[in-house]
C-alpha cells in the first residue's frame, strides 16, 4: 500500500516527467493547496518509490535538475491504489459517511 505522499508523487508524474520542485508545486495544485510536501517528505517518497521500481530517474532538465518518470510498474501500482481508494469511498457512501454520487 502506498502512503499518501507516495500516491500523490505518482499522480503528479503520471502527467509528465518532473524534477523535485515541480512535483511539489504540482501536488499542491492537484490538491488545491491541501497537501504541501516538504523537501524531506518529498524525497522520502521518491526514495521509496525508486527503490520499489515504481519511478526512475530520467535525463536532467535544462537547469540540470534530477528528473523523474513513472515506470510501467508504477502506473499499475497507482491504478491499483486508485481502485482501492474508490472501493473505500463506495463503502463509506453505503454507510452514509459521504453523500451519494448523483
Amino acid at each position: 500500500m502506498l502512503s499518501r505522499a507516495e500516491f500523490h508523487v505518482l499522480l503528479s508524474l503520471l502527467g509528465s516527467d518532473r524534477h523535485g520542485y515541480s512535483i511539489m508545486r504540482d501536488v499542491e495544485e492537484l490538491t488545491d493547496g491541501e497537501m504541501r510536501l516538504g523537501p524531506g517528505t518529498l524525497y522520502t517518497a521518491i526514495a521509496r518509490l525508486a527503490r520499489a521500481g515504481l519511478i526512475e530517474e530520467c535525463a536532467a532538465d535544462t537547469e540540470r535538475r534530477r528528473c523523474y518518470r513513472v515506470t510501467r510498474k508504477g502506473k499499475t501500482a497507482a491504478r491499483d491504489e486508485a481502485k482501492r481508494l474508490a472501493t473505500l469511498v463506495r463503502t463509506a457512501r453505503k454507510r452514509g459517511l459521504l453523500a451519494s454520487e448523483s
Binding site: G20, Y21, M24, R36, G38, P39, G40, T41, L42, Y43, T44, I46, A47, R48, R65, R66
Partner: protein, 278 residues
Amino acid sequence: MNGERFYRALLRLYPQPFRRRYGAAMTEIFVDLRHHSRTSGLRFWSFIVSDTIRSAAIQHLDVWTSVSPRVAIRWLLACVVGTVLCNLAGGVFLWAFEYLYHPYLEGTTFLPSAYGALIGATLGTTQSFMFTRMSERATWILVSALSTAVGWEFAIATAGATSLEHGVVIGATVATAQWLTLRGRMRRPSAAALMSSVAVGTAAVAGAVAVTRSLAGFDALGAPRGTAPITIEAVLRDFYMPMDWTQCLVAVAATAVAGLLLGAITLKPASSLFARAH
C-alpha cells in the same frame, strides 16, 4: 548562520547514504521554497523543521527495517543460542568449581578472566558461524574470548556491585576490541562498538534481573545463593543457582530474552558486517 546553512545542518539528521543521494537536491528545493514562500518566517521554519524531523525518523526506520531477513534471523538465533549456552557453560563451570572444591584448597581461587574467556568464547563461537571463512571465524572467537576475559577482570577490579556496571564495563572492553579489529571492515566501527557496549550492558541487566527475580520467586524465603567461597562471590553476585528443572527452564528462558535483546540492539551493525561476508 543564514537559512541555507541552517538547513544543511538540519540535513545531518538523515542517514548518511540518503543525505549523500538527495541532500543537494533537497537544499535546492529549500532555496526555491524560501524564495517563493509567502508565509511568515516562523511558519515557514516550523514547516521545514517538522518536515525534516518526521522524514528523518522515517528514513532511520527504513534503514533498520532494510536488514536482510535471512541475516537478521541468523544473527538473532546466534545471539540467543550463544547467550543460553553461556549460561549453561557458566553454570557447569561454577558447579565444577564447587564440586571439586576441597578444604585443602582453602584460599585458592580461579581467575575471573578464565570465566570471562569461557563466556566470550561460547558466545563468540555461535556468532562466528555468520562468517564464511575459517580465518574470520577463528579471529572472531579469539577476539571475543580475550576481550571478555580482560573485561571481566576489569569489571571486578573497577565496577560496583550492580549488573549494569559489570555489563557496561565488559561491554565497553569487548566493544573496544571489536572496534580495533573491525576498523577496516565496517563503515562506522565506532557506532557499532557503541551499540555493542550498550547491548552487553542491557543484556547483562536483563539477564541478571530476569534470572534473579524470577528464580527468587520460587523460593521467597531466600535459599542460599551457593556455597562457593567468598573469592568468587563477585562472579556469582548476579546469579542464582537453579535448584530444579523448572528453575533451570526459567533461567534458560530469561537468558534467551537477554540474548534476543543483545541481538536486536546489535542487529544493524552486524548485518552490515555480515552482508559483506555472505
